[in-house]
Subunit: 114 residues, 2 copies
DNA sequence: ATATATACCTTGACAGGCGAGGTATGTTGT
DNA sequence: ACAACATACCTCGCCTGTCAAGGTATATAT
């Protein structure tokens, strides 16, 4: 049931941004949310997740701050910026275009009519 | 209008196999077919195309033979094998699964209901 | 003590896409 | 004759995102 990583590649950032649109969150929780949303079929690998956070933060799409938990492990929270919201919209639009293109190019017959 | 290469990654082989299901063809022609199908919005880069042919041939999904043109540049034709047809079906199924997953994970609200 | 869950992080390898370059044939324009 | 372009193939080396493997630290349960 696991999904090929090449099919996810390029969507990691969109997935994270979509998650943060629902409110600030942190790495571990975001990954658990993904697991739950997909009925335990898919989760991002930690290394993938954290490198994506770095990219998004460097690009100005998100910013981070340490939580002030006084118990348990410390958490680094992420928040989506205005630029991040615009980036999300752009990526979603691109996904819509790409989806149609891939459907068209990989179906038998080639362009929707035999 | 150009599509991000990370969104195409992992689909190159499916696109080629889909094309070969319509009959034997060769690199240059396949790429022109893709261009035409997408209304000049997308084409595979040559380096991408030819490395994909190598992978597919090594995997036994396609085989190749030289055309016997007695004029113009020589052409290497590719033909899909039985294994290749099965591989195509597998990749299409995975695409269906991945598409649903990505839609679910990147939409606002997260799982289709607010 | 040991295991498990929570929570973070980095390093190095790997694989696919692609820019840049190369080869060769045939046609069309000047 | 020569240039330019279309057809048609190919390889090398870089770049980027993923991920296995390893590490750190806190809290709870057995």
């Amino acid at each position: 049931m696991s999904i090929a990583s090449d099919l996810i590649r390029g969507h990691t950032e969109t997935i994270i941004l979509a998650n943060l649109l629902e409110g600030d969150s942190y790495g571990y929780k975001i990954n658990k949310a993904i697991l739950q949303k997909t009925g335990n079929n898919f989760e991002l690998k930690e290394a993938t997740l954290y490198t994506a956070f770095r990219r998004l933060e460097e690009a100005g799409s998100i910013y981070s701050y340490w939580g002030d938990e006084n118990t348990g492990a410390r958490r680094r929270y992420y928040s989506i910026t205005t630029a991040g919201k615009a980036e999300y919209q752009k990526l979603r639009d691109e996904w819509g275009t790409a989806k149609d293109l891939i459907d068209k190019l990989t179906e038998i017959g080639g362009q929707g009519n035999e």
